[in-house]
Structure formats: structure tokens, C-alpha cells
């Protein structure tokens, strides 16, 4: 019997057996309390490897460039944060650098380490430690928000100069898709089922 308390309203409830891709909502407050995700860990691993590649490409190649009056300039993702720093807005530069460069990288790195560690059974307890951090870290990786920001700035600049989207832009698009797919495929419950307990007990046997 899978007894839990709703994380948003604390109501005790039993999670019923769910069909593949089925969802369970808390009957009182409506929060989604469980989602059945078939083959979660393998799929997430494949998507994470792809996201790692897309991340590297998106960060190395220029995001976009422009030409005006015979002059051209290009920028990368990190170049945006760097220019903010150079112009004296250091706090903003750090914030941007954290949200669009560091946080997504940490996200991918944590996920890879976590998934590779959970291939062993029982998984080492540091995998649980990583997952804990991952959860609090997640809202701060803002790749999709940045993409919208890039599009808006393109439209604003289009009046002043000719804008050329770069390779980085397309891999950024792929990265957004992959991050969304990772969120949809990843079921933390599957990791917790395999992780060795912090107090040294063996993980409970769990079906599926």
C-alpha cells in the first residue's frame, strides 16, 4: 500500500495503481501527486545525453549576429552575460550567467550522475543527495525564458540592423525541447525506490 501525504495540503491518501501515463491528483486540493511514467530512467538518460550535446553546441557557437552600416557583431550566450559585466551591471551579469549558463549545466550534470548511479542496485545514497538538490535547483534553469527573450530582442533589433540567427539559436531550440522532454519523462519516485537509505537500511522492495 502506497500511503503518502499531499505535498501541498498534507492530506493522507493512498496512491492507486495507475495505468501507463496515468495521473493521480489530490482529491482535496487538486495537486498532481503521482504520474506513471513508463521506462522513466532509461528514457531520461537518453534525453539527458542529447541535452548535454545540445547544450555544448548552444554555448560554443554564436547565438546570433547582426550587420549594420557594414559592421558585424555576434554574441554567444555567455557573451551576453559578459557584456553586462563589462558595462558595469555586475549583479545582473551574475544572475544571467547563473540562470542560463550555470544552472542548465548543473541540471544536466546532476541528472547524468544521478541516472548513472541509479543503474546500480542499491544506488549509492549520494544519488539521493543529488536528487534533493536537483528539486530546489530546477526553477532557476531558465533556458526557455531566455529563448523568448532572444526572440523579443531580435524583433527589437530588426529595426536597426539585419539580424542573422546563428547555430547556437537552433541548438538552443533543441535544448528547450529536450529539457521539456526530460521533465516529462523523469520520475523521481523511481530513483527513491532504488536509493540506499541514508540511515543505512536497504531500500524497500518496490514493484515496477
Amino acid at each position: 500500500m502506497n500511503l503518502i501525504a499531499c505535498p501541498h495540503c498534507d492530506l493522507l491518501q493512498v496512491i492507486p495503481a495507475l495505468p501507463p501515463r496515468g495521473k493521480a491528483r489530490c482529491p482535496r486540493c487538486g495537486k498532481v501527486v503521482a504520474v506513471s511514467k513508463p521506462d522513466s530512467l532509461n528514457r531520461t538518460l537518453a534525453l539527458t545525453v542529447a541535452a548535454g550535446i545540445a547544450y555544448i553546441v548552444a554555448n560554443i557557437w554564436p547565438l546570433m549576429g547582426l550587420s549594420a552600416a557594414g559592421r558585424t557583431s555576434t554574441t554567444t550566450i555567455i557573451g551576453g552575460a559578459h557584456m553586462m559585466w563589462a558595462q558595469g551591471e555586475k549583479i545582473t551579469a551574475l544572475l544571467v550567467g547563473f540562470c542560463v549558463v550555470l544552472a542548465p549545466a548543473v541540471q544536466i550534470g546532476f541528472m547524468l550522475a544521478l541516472l548513472l548511479a541509479t543503474r546500480r542496485s542499491p544506488a549509492p545514497s549520494w544519488a539521493g543527495e543529488l536528487l534533493r538538490w536537483f528539486k530546489f535547483h530546477q526553477p532557476w534553469a531558465m533556458v526557455e525564458v531566455m529563448m523568448l527573450g532572444v526572440l523579443v530582442s531580435l524583433v527589437k533589433i530588426a529595426d536597426l540592423a539585419t539580424v542573422i540567427p546563428g547555430v547556437g539559436m537552433f541548438s538552443l531550440g533543441a535544448l528547450i525541447f529536450l529539457f521539456a522532454a526530460i521533465t516529462a519523462a523523469f520520475d523521481p519516485e523511481k530513483v527513491w525506490e532504488r536509493v540506499g537509505w541514508a540511515n543505512g537500511e536497504e531500500p524497500r522492495e518496490a514493484g515496477g
Binding site: H8, C9, A81, I91, T92, V150, I157, W192, W197
Partner: protein
């Protein structure tokens, strides 16, 4: 009125990090989760005070964020300052009504709505309200999801500044407004995270919604 029991009423704690239901040895000092080693708490510590503090700090930053320029453009010696609102108007006038709408919602409406929504949640929690619990829970989930999109204007400013560096023809510098605006977004996100949604339901004990 339907029956129901919360974990706290049953003397149980649901670990915030891993969701394991734990029966702590001592209610006063619940200790740590046996599975993931996170600190166990019946409710987030000082949730109401912390959230208020962050909301007030965000509200203080909201004013300079909207008044100070976020971008300063220099076109052959002609200097122009752009605030968030003037940026939206410019975008609207140059023909992108849809994008202007998106920026307006992300940078002006959402931060303000978040401040109001969180204040409303805190006040109702402090008054021990048992009404409209389900709607308040929904409101909280909405605040949690949309908050990060306010960062939009910070990124817009960043990439415009990064690209438009065609000295001496034209250059765009960031203004102080960006920093305050970023502070508003970060502080409201932290405020949403420090609010404990279970407080909405605590005055209702195990009862359900709107049971008049």
C-alpha cells in the same frame, strides 16, 4: 463534510525532499529523513514571516525597477533612456502587438500579480480562513509556475546590449533598472518557494473545501 486526516494530525511528517512519510520519534525535534537525510519539519520553518519579508523587499525594488531606465542607447551622440514601459510602447508602435503584450504581461503584470497573490495568501492564512481553499491552492500553483517568466526583460536587455555595440555609430548600455528588476523576480520567486501551501489547509483540519 467529508472526513480526512492530515499527516500532521496523525503525527506523521511527509519529507519535503523525497516524499517519504515518516513518524518522527519526538514531535518537538523531528530530526532527519531516514531515506534522504533532509531535515524533517511539520511545516516550513517561519514560513509566513520569511515570505512576508521577501515580498516587502520585492515591493521596495518594484518601484525603481519601473522608474529607472533598463537600457540607455547612444546613437551618434543622441542619448535615449528606455524604461520597461517605454520599451513595451516602442515594441507596440513598431508593429509587434503580440510581443508587446507578452512583454507587458511578463514584466509588469506578473510581478505585480505575484505580490498581490502572495499577500492575499498570507493574510488569509494568518486570519485562519477556511474559505475558498481549493481556489487558493490553485492560485499558489499558478504563482509557482509563472514566476520565472518575469525574467524575460532581463534577458531581452542582456542580448540587446551584447549585440548593439557598434561604437561610435551606436551603442546600448544597461541601466540600473535591470538590476532592480532582476531583484524583484528573484525575490518573488524565493517568496513563492518559502510559502508553505499546507498552511492554507491547516485551519480546516482534515475537512474539505467550503463546507457550509
Amino acid at each position: 463534510m467529508k472526513p480526512g486526516l492530515t499527516a500532521a494530525e496523525a503525527g506523521l511528517i511527509s519529507c519535503e525532499a523525497c516524499g517519504l512519510l515518516v513518524r518522527p520519534a519526538h514531535a518537538d525535534e523531528p530530526g532527519y529523513c531516514p531515506r534522504c537525510d533532509a531535515e524533517l519539519e511539520f511545516r516550513r520553518h517561519n514560513s509566513v514571516q520569511r515570505t512576508w519579508a521577501l515580498i516587502i523587499a520585492a515591493a521596495v525594488c518594484y518601484l525603481p525597477a519601473n522608474i529607472l531606465p533598463i537600457m540607455i542607447s547612444n546613437q551618434l551622440g543622441r542619448v535615449e533612456e528606455d524604461t520597461i514601459i517605454s520599451g513595451v510602447i516602442l515594441l507596440y508602435n513598431t508593429g509587434s502587438a503580440v510581443l508587446a503584450g507578452i512583454v507587458l504581461i511578463a514584466s509588469v503584470v506578473i510581478p505585480l500579480a505575484k505580490l498581490i497573490a502572495l499577500s492575499y495568501l498570507l493574510i488569509t492564512v494568518q486570519r485562519g480562513s477556511v474559505r475558498k481553499n481549493r481556489d487558493r491552492a490553485k492560485l499558489y500553483r499558478l504563482v509557482e509556475i509563472v514566476g520565472r517568466w518575469s525574467m524575460l526583460d532581463v534577458f531581452v536587455a542582456t542580448f540587446i546590449v551584447a549585440l548593439i555595440q557598434l561604437q561610435p555609430l551606436m551603442a546600448i548600455m544597461p541601466g540600473m533598472g535591470v538590476m532592480f528588476f532582476g531583484a524583484v523576480v528573484v525575490l518573488t520567486m524565493l517568496a513563492a518557494e518559502s510559502f508553505d501551501p499546507r498552511l492554507i489547509w491547516d485551519s480546516s483540519k482534515g475537512r474539505w473545501d467550503d463546507d457550509e
